[in-house]
Symmetry: C2
Subunit: 499 residues, 2 copies
């Protein structure tokens, strides 16, 4: 058996240590089960895998709450045995995606900043049981988190039954990196006292207490991080464009010399931008974001970064290894926060974060689709992009101008699903160029987006649509041809190409 005696700091409770199989029996059919984790980082593994085996034998389902995406040991393993009936509030798992898109799983995605609040408010039903990963349990029964904090504080706050997986692959040197600050429900809220990215305002542990801990399970399965696609040519171009854009903004006095705290979404383009910054002259940068990917380590290693705030360490396998090896250096600069703080609009608006996120498609007027392919098919969910896009100082979305070898134009007449409105989008970027939409009317935006961001193969087709829409509506404010607005996506569904 895995030795976790040094991680349970009150020996009176060693008797609660049990196996994953025994702990999984505490979960009943139709239970609402809430789990820790934010991206494949800091989520429980042993109990969910045992639960999946049990469900395979006994055929039942649960409702699953996770503050964000988690590892395949939960979403994947449970989806493959059809064990999930309902799932909130963000995911990235391919097997779960299949179940969501064939009607087997009821799913809804919420902004990263609001899920904890929805639990505390009672807007979502309270979980019956919470399963969390921890590095250690303090004498008082409080939890030292591992590579994420996520929604765990709120989940434990609203539930009386907690199963703790002590993961021995998570180093104890993580202790002290977390900053857990609880937000009460209104009318009892006061200002969140973060003024600078690295400010510490809370405790290094999640409040729990021995009363709630019903089982402790040793685990030696490491986080299973995703590998990133290497940065491709388009990504490199976008990275360079955005770095140049930042330089120009500084020159124009619209951004300070050391920029403002950077938020950067998940993915290889986001990584490329960060790599571009690592090679630039920028210094004393700060990062206020929800996921820390490999690029950020490069940036920190290059001596470019003063402080990092995140909700999780979400690196590649190599990146995570690198992080663990140099944790004593990184802990000086990195603070890991609950997602209701990392993504809180109060803090984001105050510090003036620069929001950089990936789009699936955007339209000629600047509406952005982040979630659905051709209107109906869910990709992942909105995640934290909306929190940052709405409250940020400067909001940038990027995507390659085409997909599927040119068969799809990422710039379309009308988005088939809207997640971020034109009111929230300052700048769009593809490998073709940057469209700065600030202060432009819808038709001016359209001409700029087509000229600067659309792939040359689609520019004439888009301009033709725009001109006909202007003519047909008599130059109305945001001219659309309702009969044709979604025809590009429809054509792709029917013919495999938007051309």
């Amino acid at each position: 058996m895995i030795d976790i005696s040094d991680r349970i700091r009150n020996k009176a409770y060693m008797s609660r240590v049990t196996t994953a199989e025994e702990a999984a029996k505490l979960i009943h059919p139709d239970d609402i089960v809430a789990v820790s984790g934010f991206t494949p980082a800091g989520y429980p593994k042993a109990v969910p895998l045992a639960l999946a085996k049990r469900i395979e034998r006994e055929h039942f389902q649960i409702t699953l709450y996770a503050g964000a995406s988690i590892g395949d040991e939960i979403d994947g393993a449970l989806a493959r045995v059809h064990g999930i009936s309902r799932r909130f509030s963000y995911h990235t798992n391919k097997d779960l995606r299949r179940e969501i898109n064939d009607g087997s799983v009821a799913y809804a995605d919420y902004h990263v900043s609001v899920f904890a609040q929805m639990l505390r408010e009672g807007f979502m039903k309270r979980p019956d049981i919470v399963v969390v990963e921890a590095a250690a349990i303090t004498k008082e029964g409080n939890l030292i988190p591992t590579t994420s904090v996520g929604t765990t504080p709120a989940m434990i706050d609203v539930c009386q039954k907690v199963v703790v997986e002590i993961n021995v692959t998570q180093p104890l040197s993580l202790e002290g990196m977390h900053d857990v600050y609880d937000i009460p429900n209104p009318p009892f809220r006061v200002p969140i006292p973060i003024v600078h990215t690295g400010d510490r305002i809370g405790k290094p542990y999640i409040t729990c207490g021995w009363d709630k801990i019903v089982a402790i399970v040793p685990c030696d399965i490491p986080d299973a991080p995703r590998s990133f696609k290497p940065v491709d040519d388009a990504g490199r171009k976008m990275g360079n464009l955005i770095v140049q854009f930042f330089k120009d903004e500084v020159a124009k006095g619209r951004l300070p010399e050391h920029l403002l705290p950077l938020q950067s979404g998940v993915g290889s383009v986001a990584n490329a931008v960060i790599q571009g910054l690592a090679k630039s002259d920028f210094e004393h940068l700060s990062i206020f974001t929800e996921v820390l990917q490999d690029g950020m380590f490069t940036l920190i290693d290059a001596g470019k970064v003063d402080a990092v705030s995140t909700a999780s360490i979400s690196a590649s396998p190599e990146g995570l290894k690198h992080f663990y090896e140099h944790i004593d250096e990184y802990r000086k600069k990195i603070v890991i926060r609950p997602q209701e703080i990392s993504n809180n609009p109060e803090v984001i608006r105050r510090i003036g974060a620069i929001a950089m996120n990936t789009a699936i498609e955007f339209d000629i007027y600047g509406q952005v689709n982040s979630t659905h392919i051709c209107g109906s098919r869910l990709m992942n969910g909105i995640g934290g992009s909306g929190d940052f896009a709405r409250a940020g100082y400067l909001t940038i979305f990027f995507t390659s101008s085409t997909a599927k070898n040119g068969a799809i134009s990422s710039v379309v007449p009308m988005c088939s699903h809207v997640d971020h409105t034109e009111h929230d989008v300052d700048v769009l970027c593809t490998e073709q160029g940057i469209a700065d939409l600030r202060g432009l009317s819808p038709v001016e935006r359209a001409r700029t987006i087509i000229a600067n961001c659309a792939h040359p193969d689609y520019r004439d087709q888009l301009t033709d649509y725009l001109n006909r829409a202007i003519a047909a509506t008599g130059s109305q404010h945001e001219p659309q041809l309702l009969k044709e607005a979604l025809s590009w996506q429809q054509r792709y569904l029917e013919t495999g190409s938007m051309k």
Copy 2:
């Protein structure tokens, strides 16, 4: 000449008093002119009217900035002489609307909370001249605002040339009702110290200084407030539904006994809801909003309200008269703030405002259109609805289930324009009923919205669309038939009916 000597508290500057015609000459062709005002309240009148006359003779255009909608003396008078080439960031004027929808005026609407920030950031070009209404000028050259604060502090902050209209119809007893708190650009921001609705954190005047004041113009034209349509049967039903919904939420422990600060948009339905609250058992309510309409006075007069925070007094002619007559009572409860505070996501999220706003249409999945008729034609703009919908504790949109005598269903398969996404919408309300969307998947939302909110005449048609979309997509997450999704609005354009 109108005597304003008691309103200029430094006699050394009386020489700057001039006529509206002379002051209008300070505005040059192609200038960017910024004006005070928020709704038809606290905006300059004499200089814009003189400017419109000059433009009629001399044929030139200006760019016009206003933080929100303003009176017909500006938007209407200037639009009628084709004097506006570009206009930000919100309007409600019918003549301006016509110019926007025939391509004559380049217009873009921004969230109420961000326009001041966009000016201070330099994202929008700086105004060449600012024209503001004031009740008085202090000894130091600072301005006592009138019935709104709007974006005036930021406009003056970024401009060196200010024309002040002293409006003698605005009582000097307005002094002390305003709370002007300036927000610096990041990285220099600190928490906005509002914890309770009525907290006063700033100054009772707008900082300006004599150096910037280039002309002072006496004015005796009163605010020209809008009349509201009387509350109709549908409005009354929605008011009652929402009051009952609040009672149920309190009973379920999801809202405190005295509710949370209420935000209520412009319009007769909003007024009906407030009237419903006035007749209810609720007490010690608080109002955190951007516009104070007649209904709010009823609520205050009924002794139901402890504190009110607003960006303007936007009553009907009768309501405004009532306000002026009882100003000594109202000033004990009302604080008038700059719009970047009244709509700030930091404060809204903290105090947990209940956001109640009107929709033009919403779709079966809960996306909301607040701005465009049939996709292309602008109605007004997004205003503050997005600030409150996104950051609020509970977000409600309401609209009558049909318009144009039943020819239009306000519930459609897909919105022809999206301003608020499904991620931001908790509750929808029509006179048919309430759809509580919290914790529902998209298809569950659709069934609930059709059953509870759609007009009976359209329910079968909507259900038929939903069922066919589910079948055609194989139960994808948010099933849409792209070929048909916008056909309802298209049918209305072609036949005059969605049936």
